[in-house]
């Protein structure tokens, strides 16, 4: 029986890293895997994962659903639901490389699909909301089924194991993307299980996180009022839903969303020029329940870019670097140096300061 939040405590770490080519040049998945090997000690083998963007160019207009199933009966039940809601173009198991380092694997399936147009029309929802509701429904209502990736032209790959072993397991060297994020897990409060590994994704948003959210339950109670369901027995998933809510539903800019999640202190807001002070006061007052407290460093992946953010007290490490069209992020400088030995600029952002790297000219 899987123990839930608060029933188990494992002493502390976590590693994150990310890269993006602003010109949209493709990087092979093995590069981000390599960055995780030098931060091995930050993980304890209870979770590793990756998100790649631009990896499915041949299906770029279709939603790529990656799903864990406990067993074949679960799969049949879920496929019935997916088959009604979507037109499935292609479905198969995700190819993996068997390794003794990754065990107890669930069934891991991938579907390239477009929403069933009639159903979509009947629902009177926009396409993304329609897809998001189906993903949440599966994760909430179908036992033994977890949709862990649901964006277009992107994919999440995660497992219980050390990140470098997870990369080998999913054969990431066979994928090429314009951006990648990675995570090595060292769970502190919650059990290590396949669904609880990072990244946590909804539509094209994915989050990798190093830290521990003190405000988790306050954030969860607020976000669940808007149809989200926190089902994955760990704190990080709520950050993904917060970004989805602020960016997609509220239409905020990335900077505004970052100012809600890592809001400046009132003492700092008091020193701001009047217009900025008014805006920041509005954001803090209106979305106070989405302030994320406790230590965190996160990378948000989205279609066309990456965003890095620390908690405002900067209780977790984060290093950024640039070289030509590439921007790199990692918990430790050494992880950047193995990807790029000689960056032209390397720096540590301040607490609460969002660092954003976007594709030049947007997404093709």
């Amino acid at each position: 029986m899987l123990k839930k939040e608060g029933e188990i405590r494992i002493p502390s770490g976590c590693a994150i890293s990310g890269l993006i080519s602003k010109k949209g040049n493709k990087t092979c998945g093995d590069k981000i895997v390599k960055s995780m090997t030098v931060m091995h000690e930050r993980s304890n083998g209870l979770g590793g994962g990756f998100a790649g963007y631009g990896i499915y160019p041949e299906f770029k207009d279709l939603y790529a659903l990656h799903i864990f199933y406990d067993n074949t009966a679960c799969r049949h039940e879920c496929e019935k639901l997916i088959g009604e809601a979507f037109e499935i173009e292609k479905q198969s198991e995700i190819p993996v490389r068997e390794t003794p380092k990754i065990t107890n694997q669930p069934l891991i399936w991938r579907y390239f699909a477009a929403p069933n147009q009639e159903r979509l029309k009947e629902s009177q929802l926009d396409e993304k909301e329609y897809v998001a509701r189906i993903v949440i429904k599966i994760n909430k209502e179908l036992d033994g089924c977890y949709v862990f990736s649901s964006g277009k032209n992107m994919g999440v790959f995660k497992a219980v194991g050390f990140p470098e072993d997870v990369g080998e397991f999913y054969r990431l060297e066979e994928y090429e993307g314009y951006s990648w994020t990675a995570h090595g897990r060292y769970p502190t409060n919650t059990p290590g299980w396949w669904g609880g590994a990072h990244p946590f994704a909804l539509l094209d948003y994915s989050i990798v996180h190093n830290g521990e959210i003190s405000s988790y339950d306050a954030n969860r109670r607020f976000i669940e009022m808007f149809g989200y369901a926190c089902t994955l027995k760990t704190d990080t998933e709520v950050i993904t839903y917060i970004f989805d809510y602020l960016l997609r539903k509220q239409g905020m800019t990335l900077e505004e969303a970052a100012s809600v999640i890592a809001a400046p202190f009132w003492s700092v807001i008091d020193t701001m020029p009047p217009a900025e002070k008014q805006k920041m006061s509005f954001l803090r007052n209106t979305f106070g329940s989405l302030l994320v407290t406790g230590p965190f460093s996160i990378l948000l992946g989205y279609e066309g870019g990456l965003l890095a953010l620390n908690d405002r007290l900067k209780l977790r490490s984060m290093v950024c670097a640039e070289k030509d069209d590439m921007t790199y992020f990692a918990s430790e400088e050494c992880a950047i140096r193995v990807m790029e030995p000689n960056p032209t600029r390397i720096w540590a952002p301040s607490g609460g300061e969002a660092v954003i790297a976007n594709l030049e000219g947007g997404v093709n």
Binding site: E41, L313, K314, S317, E332, E333, C334, R337, A348, S350
Partner: protein
């Protein structure tokens, strides 16, 4: 003695270093943790980026890094010297209780957090560049000297400097202190007596990195120390 650190795990590397004495050069270092932990009687030169907790519990050894260092450098070090030619991550000199750390470049958040001193054991942290927030947080002793070389006065310090400080001294090389300092902390422009206290370390730092002392003294220093007339009682609860 030269050691190539390429793809070497931190525990294997540290077991190799531990019995050695004298000069040791580590090449291609990349993220190996705990280098020089508790070390004495050796001088380690590191080419590359050493991992977290470099020189933790250091006990008399010398460490020179020809590049940047990561987080928690010199954690709880007792004696010896760490010289960083580049910049340093968060929490450099964490709970340091003796010895010296010289950083040529910038430092991240919480440099010198919880430094302490007792009797003749007075740790010294000298920073050539600028400092992240919470410099000297909960500082209980020792000297922190921030030079801000190459930066405007307003950029030397970030927010919340000396939060919870209750011992030791912080010297900031700036004609004007722009950062907000809490009322629990006293600030004054350094007197001749104050300067005399840091002069030997400034001299050593300048010699170490080939910096002109005249340039360092071209600006005033501001000195921060805890205000014993405004103790922390009643900060949280009435007691």
């Amino acid at each position: 003695m030269k050691i190539d650190c390429t793809d070497k795990k931190y525990d294997i590397l540290n077991r190799e270093i531990s019995p050695l004495e004298g000069e040791i050069v580590l090449d291609n270092c990349c993220g190996q943790r705990f280098i020089g932990a508790g070390a004495s009687k050796k001088a380690i030169t590191i080419n590359g980026v050493p991992g977290n907790a470099l020189g933790c519990y250091l006990d008399g050894a010398d460490i020179v890094v020809k590049g940047n260092a990561q987080d928690a450098t010199g954690d709880t070090m007792n004696d010896g010297k760490i010289v960083i030619h580049g910049s340093c991550g968060d929490a450099v000199g964490y709970a340091m209780r003796g010895g010296k750390i010289f950083v040529r470049g910038d430092v991240g958040y919480r440099a010198g957090i919880h430094m302490k001193e007792y009797g003749s054991k007075i740790p010294v942290l000298v920073i050539g560049g600028k400092c992240g927030s919470f410099l000297g947080e909960y500082q209980a002793g020792g000297l922190i000297i921030a030079l801000g070389l190459g930066y405007d006065d307003k950029d030397v310090l970030d927010s919340f400097c000396a939060t919870g400080m209750h011992g030791g001294k912080i010297f900031i090389r700036t004609n004007e202190l722009n950062a907000k300092i809490t009322p629990q902390i006293c600030v004054r422009t350094a007197t001749d007596e104050d300067i005399a206290q840091i002069a030997p370390y400034i001299k050593e730092f300048c010699e170490c990195f080939g910096i002109s002392e005249t340039e360092v003294y071209s600006k005033q220093f501001q000195v921060l120390w805890p205000n014993s007339a405004n103790p922390y009682k009643q900060l949280y609860v009435m007691n």
